[in-house]
Structures are given as structure tokens and as C-alpha cells.
Symmetry: C2
Subunit: 334 residues, 2 copies
């Protein structure tokens, strides 16, 4: 029997748990999952899963379930460390969290939304390969039950790293694709991570963000006129910023994304999060593109204002969650 | 005994009811108030009022209380017809509503927020004087009880009318000021309506609107960074559009408005309305300035996006109120 590949996983929401199931199901990996709020329940009962790819699973436990990264180290060293949490860098650094378990040969796999998500990993671990996972999956974790509705389609690529030639990066990447792929899912090598991420941002920085801001699904946003008045202009800004960053997106992407949820009154993830009172991934979805626009001198007033408005809403959510407090007396200039 | 002046009033919210009280208290007017939802209650029990200007009033009834404009006509003809409703022209035209009671000598008094509110009245009644009331009053009607917290300070002026010289307009206007003024309130002649309205818009199109969009009060908006990132820029746009419309506002108005609620965590009216699920006056507060910017070629991306976002929220509110419905199946292009 071939020895299995050790993989660390942080983040067992809908995306991360299906990733761990996919890896274990393929049979070549032993996943060590670091859990916090779900730890006791999963140790006792496992995850229950209702999956369009894998059917009903009463009790799924990855090979190892631990409640801290420190504890995970006894199941290492890890060839891959997957981060599948939401990316909210203004609240917590996931690179800080996994750092104790990262060794010289650990490739870091970021299965997260947004642009510029790799910067911190590359700065902290310049000699480690950093991979990108762009996931299309309709999956959510509700108190340890995973409801998985759309086929797991994930594109895995590598972020450029000046310390390695592309052949090495590609070899590490295709190994992960091989570990992840199975007869039920759709995992492919992403030849151009930067392109894929900018392309997905056309949806996320515009439709997803504006649905969150206005509290309506994409169908209503269109019926109420917002697709023509807001979304097309914001998407043109994304295309212009991408271009300044070396990525050529065709204008066709605008209508492709606008029509991508047809014919559903679809509530995108940021709208769902707002309704649940959750934090949003605004720094990597909204903030980083705006910062690139500022650096490159690309006018982006719509994306800038959308970002600034969402920042206020993010602070409101943080206050509601007790993460920040405001002074009892409003501070005013003397 | 001098005969009293007949005044018609549409809109008995916090502003309108205190206006009718002020006019009756001054003793020179007989107010005919057209009520809808409050009609039966006010006929039976009157308005109960708790007012910083007038104290506790157990049961206030204007001289005449009617439930339709048609019925009001038996107490006319009216020298003044006051419209003190919210201005939501996309839902209903108040000019249509009062039209049956307007005669050749009726001056129309618009005690409403925003810019360009006089256009419809002037188009429909070109030979009638149209007056402007800009009210600073903290007053709300809750099921027939009026809670009035800040001194009634109202500026009454006239909208220009090419069919009359200024002397005539001013004479009609100062007559209304005389009717309204009493020993408890603060009613003054507004020498420059256009200036007053643009100036107030610096607050309403920016702080009021952005608090509504983000769901936070002005204190939190400032603490969370939004005053510097959003409000100052949006206010500069208002000043530029006002200038293109012939109104010179000093840059000082920006800090004056930003500090005008100190030291209170103040929830402005549009935020209060959003929280209550009410419609907002977006066409006259947000839409008209943006349309003027477009006509005059003044760049106003922040005000434009704020308006477009609020339009979506307005439609959402209209759907929640059952005023519009969306098709069961989302319409998509063939």
C-alpha cells in the first residue's frame, strides 16, 4: 500500500468539508482537519453530508480531526496546507494560524475568493509554493450538516514565484489536482490563475457586492433596473483595472456574468452573508481591486464607493458581533 | 372680528400637524385638514400632541377635518394650500391630489425636502404662486400622537414665477409668514429659496442618504471612516452641481453639516424611514441633483451611484409594501 499524502485543512465550511471528502474519497490523501466550533460534534458524530456528487453520508470524519494547528503537527509533515476559510484579513490572518504547521515542503493552497489573496502567504513563506483554488460549488455548512447542491468544479493553479521555475510550480500543482480528482468531481489545472481570478471578480465585485448592498437578489436587481444603471459600469471598471494589471478580459464577460444565474432569482453569497449577519470578504473582493486602480491611476469611482459603503457595513456587522464597540459618548472635535 | 384666512393642508405627519397647530394658535387662519388613515380617530379624539413649543395638548382638531379634497371644497376657497407630505412623485402626485381645491388665488405651499420640487406645481398651475417651506423640526406622528422635540423653525420663501414680479410673490409670501408666526415658533422669510434648498441638500443627499444606505447613524458613520471616505467627496459634488445651477455654496458648509448633529449618535430621517420600511424621498433628494449634473455636464459619480443604489432599495420597499410584484418566474432574454 502506497503511503498517503498528508494534507492539512483549515476551514470546514461548505467548500472545505467537500474538499476534504473529495481528497479522502480519491484515496490518496490523509486529511487532518483543524476544527473550532464544530470540533466536539464532529469527533462524536462526524459531518452529515447531503451531496449532489457523493449522495447521503451519515457521518464523515477526515482521517484526523484536531482542535488546534499545534495538535495537527503530529499528523505531519504536510505536503499541502489548504486554507478554505473566508478571507477576512482585517479580522484574522490565516497564514498566522497555519504557520506552525508549515514546513519547507508544504505547498499552501488558497481556496478563497478575491484578488491579491496570495500576498501574505508569499511574503511570509517566500520559498513555499502557493496554489490557487477557484471553486464553483454550492455548498454550505449548517451546524455540522453539509448541504451540497452544485457539482464541485474547482480550478487549481499556481501563483507565480520568482524562486521557482514554472515547471516546478506546475508539477506541485498537478500533483494536487491528481490527489483531488475523483470520479464524481471536476478538478482541473488552471493555466492562468490571474486571469481566472480577475474573471471571477467581474461577478463578485459587482453583482455579488451590489446585491449585498441593496438587499435584493440578482433577478430583482435586474428587474429594478440596477443591472443597467450600476452593474455594467462597475464591470467595465473591473475590466479596465484587470487590463492595467496585465489581464485582458473580453467585453463579452459582462453579459456572460449578468446572465450566469438565469433563470433563477439567485441570492449570491455576499447577500446571503449579509442576511445572516456574517462578515464579508470585502478586502480581497472590493478593496484590492480598488487599491490596484489607485496605484495604476485607473478611474474606478463605482467600485471605490461600493467598497467604502461595504466597509461601513462590515464595521456595523463587527459591532453587532461584539468584535468592536463604539464609545458611549460620541467623540467630537473640541 | 376679522374673517380668518382659509388654508388647506394635505399631510398630517409630524411637520404638517404642527404647522396646522401653529396656524390655528396664531389665530388668523382656519385650517382644513385632509386626512386619510387618521381621519376617524382625529374626528373622534383629535390629535394628541406633546410639543416642545406648545406643551401637552390632549385633543387638537384643526377648524375642519375632512377625508377628501372634494369634501374640503365646502370650506374654501383657500388662499393657501399646504402640501406637507413626503415627496415621492414616483408613487403619487400631490399636485393631482390638491388640484380640485386650487382656485385662481390659491398659493401652493410646498413644505417638503429636496430640489426641483416646484416643477410640477408650476407646470400645472403657472398662474398660481408657489411657496417653499424649509422646515427644521424634530416631529413625528405615531398613530395620531404627535411627538414634537425640536423648536419649529421654518423658512418660507417663494419660487420664481415669470408671470409675477418679485414684489407680488414676496407679498404673498410674507402674508403666509405672518399667518404662521406666533410667540412660540420661529418662522422667517427665506430671501433665497434656491440657496436654502441646495444648502440643506448638502446634508440630505450625503449624510442622510449614506446613513440610510449603510444602516448606521452619523456618529458611527464618522467613527467607521465613512465621513472622510464618502461624505466629503459626495458633498463636494453637491457644491459643484449647485454652482452649475447658479448657487454658490461655501466649502465651509461641508464641515458645518458634518458637525451639525454633534454630539449625538443621530439617526437621520432617511435612516429612520429605512428601519421602519418606509419609502424615501429619493427623486427630489437624490435624483433631481443627479439629473441637473447630467444636464450641466458636472461629474457626480458618487451622488449618481448613491441614487441608483437607493432606487433599488426603494423598489425593494415597494415590493415589501405590496405596491409592486415581481413575476413568479424570473424573466430572462430568449
Amino acid at each position: 500500500m502506497t503511503e498517503k499524502c498528508n494534507i492539512l485543512l483549515i476551514g470546514s465550511g461548505g467548500v472545505g468539508t467537500i474538499a476534504s471528502y473529495a481528497l479522502e474519497y480519491a484515496g490518496k490523501s490523509a486529511v487532518t482537519s483543524v476544527l473550532r466550533s464544530d470540533y466536539s460534534r464532529v469527533v462524536e458524530r462526524g459531518f452529515s453530508i447531503n451531496s449532489c456528487d457523493y449522495g447521503q453520508i451519515a457521518a464523515f470524519r477526515p482521517s484526523h480531526v484536531v482542535n488546534s494547528v499545534e495538535e495537527s503537527k503530529k499528523y505531519g509533515p504536510f505536503d499541502f496546507a489548504i486554507i478554505a476559510t473566508k478571507c477576512v484579513p482585517e479580522v484574522a490572518s490565516m497564514i498566522d494560524v497555519i504557520a506552525p504547521a508549515v514546513t519547507a515542503n508544504t505547498a499552501i493552497v488558497l481556496v478563497q475568493n478575491g484578488i491579491g489573496i496570495e500576498a501574505e502567504a508569499k511574503a511570509r513563506f517566500p520559498n513555499n509554493v502557493v496554489l490557487s483554488g477557484v471553486s464553483m460549488i454550492g455548498s454550505a455548512n449548517q451546524n455540522g450538516h453539509i448541504e451540497h447542491e452544485c457539482k464541485d468544479a474547482i480550478k487549481i493553479g499556481f501563483f507565480e514565484n520568482e524562486n521557482y521555475d514554472r515547471a516546478h510550480l506546475e508539477k506541485v500543482c498537478t500533483r494536487f489536482v491528481d490527489l483531488y480528482s475523483n470520479d464524481r468531481n471536476d478538478c482541473e489545472f488552471d493555466e492562468n490563475v490571474k486571469f481566472s481570478r480577475w474573471r471571477k471578480l467581474v461577478y463578485n465585485a459587482c453583482l455579488n457586492s451590489v446585491c449585498a448592498l441593496t438587499g435584493v437578489d440578482v433577478g430583482r436587481l435586474e428587474l429594478f433596473g440596477g443591472v443597467d444603471t450600476i452593474i455594467r459600469e462597475a464591470m467595465r471598471e473591473v475590466i479596465a483595472i484587470a487590463k492595467s494589471d496585465g489581464v485582458e478580459l473580453s467585453e463579452d464577460v459582462i453579459d456572460f456574468m449578468i446572465r450566469s444565474d438565469d433563470p433563477v432569482y439567485y441570492s449570491p453569497s455576499m447577500l446571503v452573508d449579509i442576511r445572516k449577519g456574517n462578515l464579508l470578504e470585502i478586502e480581497v473582493i472590493n478593496g484590492n481591486p480598488v487599491r490596484i486602480a489607485q496605484e495604476k491611476g485607473i478611474p474606478a469611482p463605482y467600485l471605490t464607493l461600493i467598497y467604502e459603503l461595504l466597509k461601513i457595513i462590515q464595521r456595523r456587522t463587527m459591532e453587532q458581533k461584539g468584535m468592536i464597540t463604539v464609545p458611549t459618548e460620541r467623540p467630537v472635535p473640541k
